[in-house]
């Protein structure tokens, strides 16, 4: 029974060997939010960005090509699905995998942007995210080596996970794009297409929320 006094009561659990996907009040709320945002990015049209010509009073609205929209939309939905996976999964390693997937889809969402600044920022962010796989997988490896399992269900409340592993996990998710290292990501949200760009920010916030829960629980 998964009944931590951190995140509310258990609502649902799917016993699947020792890897148990579960919903607590907390993760269920997050999952509901992810579904809402997937729906928004799946069905909404992108906005038309207004650009002001500085020093004059002219402004023009940019149009996005249909093919670019389609690609970004697909990637935004993929990003939503990866986020959903990261929120719902009951396994530390799967969480790290989903975190890396979120990183991939994040740079893919803006890949079709013609803006060179955006692409440059995406590239630099991608490199940071790639380096972040080291602490992410490293923490999963340390957890596996010290406790012999990766299941959050089993680890919950045991306090068996070393502090180093927790710190590395947070560091890894930070690299995938939360607060202090987020600055690298701030530039890529200049890209066009509000529903899709929104997904970039949303996915990293949810990763952050989920990793907070994991670190407090295990």
């Amino acid at each position: 029974m998964f009944d931590q006094n951190i995140e509310g009561a258990e609502l649902f659990a799917l016993p699947f060997g020792d890897i148990v996907p579960f919903f607590s009040v907390y993760t269920a709320t997050l999952a509901a939010f992810v579904v809402v945002f997937i729906l928004i990015s799946a069905f909404d049209r992108p906005e038309r960005q207004l650009n002001i010509v500085f020093g004059g009073d002219a402004y023009y609205a940019k149009e996005i090509k249909e093919s670019d929209t389609r690609f970004s939309r697909f990637m935004a939905i993929a990003c939503g699905c990866a986020t959903l996976g990261a929120v719902v999964t009951g396994d530390v390693f799967n969480f790290t995998l989903f975190a890396v997937l979120v990183g991939i889809t994040n740079i893919a969402i803006v890949a079709s942007a013609g803006n060179r600044h955006v692409l440059n920022a995406a590239f630099q962010y991608g490199i940071v995210a790639m380096i972040a796989t080291v602490p992410l997988f490293g923490s999963a490896a340390i957890i596996l080596a010290t406790t012999g399992t990766l299941s959050i269900w089993t680890l919950a409340g045991m306090g068996a996970v070393p502090l180093l592993a927790k710190a590395l996990l947070i560091l890894g998710v930070m690299g995938e794009g939360i607060a202090p290292l987020y600055i690298g990501k701030a530039e890529i949200i200049r890209a066009q297409g509000a529903p899709f760009v929104l997904m970039i920010h949303f996915s990293s916030l949810l990763l952050f929320l989920r990793v907070t829960e994991i670190v407090l629980v295990i």
Partner: protein
């Protein structure tokens, strides 16, 4: 198991520190892109250190996501630097195909000569095809046809030798083997040169 883990861990941390240091020093985007692969390998190395069945099962998905991320980054790099626009004049305009063919083709040809006969010809022919595909493809049919014709003649001559002077069978077999080798090689290499040039 834990002891080995710790020893490996120290080695891995050393590698990670070196990798991260290289990130600090490196400023060229392409080189940093290549170094990210080093970092991801280190991540997999950490998992592999655990050395259980479960860890083994975790390496493959880890490899898949890191490689796909590397590919996505490489694609971004291409778009960012505008490298997609200058499309290569030839399809196989890859750097490794400029340097490798000479070595690989010579290895294949030498091995084919050692094998001799039909199969040797096939191997050597493959080497020649590889070389021609990578290096260039002027359709010099005359040359190949000439070589092929002389090989044919040598093969026939070997038959005559074995019929007229049975005591010299070894020489005859050698000539026939060499000839068939050259013939098959020549025939196969035709494939490498046939690329539909304008003046043919």
């Amino acid at each position: 198991m834990i002891d080995t883990f710790h020893t490996g861990m120290i080695a891995a941390s050393l590698c990670i520190i070196i990798a991260f240091f290289s990130f600090l020093k490196e400023t060229d985007d392409l080189h940093r892109l290549l170094l990210t692969d080093l970092a991801s390998v280190m991540a997999l190395f950490l998992i592999a250190l655990v050395g259980t069945d479960l860890a083994e099962a975790l390496i493959l998905p880890g490899l898949v996501v890191t490689i796909s991320k590397l590919m996505a980054l490489a694609e971004i790099y291409l778009v960012k630097e505008g490298l997609q626009k200058n499309s290569p004049s030839r399809i196989l305009d890859i750097e490794v195909l400029q340097s490798a063919p000479a070595i690989l083709a010579s290895i294949l040809v030498i091995y084919g000569i050692i094998l001799s006969g039909f199969s040797g010809g096939a191997v050597a022919g493959l080497g020649v095809i590889f070389y021609l595909v990578c290096k260039g493809h002027q359709e010099r049919f005359e040359l190949i046809e000439t070589v092929s014709g002389y090989a044919w003649v040598a093969w026939i001559a070997a038959f005559f030798i074995i019929l007229i002077f049975p005591s010299q069978w070894f020489l005859a077999v050698m000539i026939a083997g060499g000839a068939i080798l050259i013939k098959v090689t020549a025939k196969l290499s035709l494939i490498g040169t046939m690329r539909g040039e304008s003046d043919v």
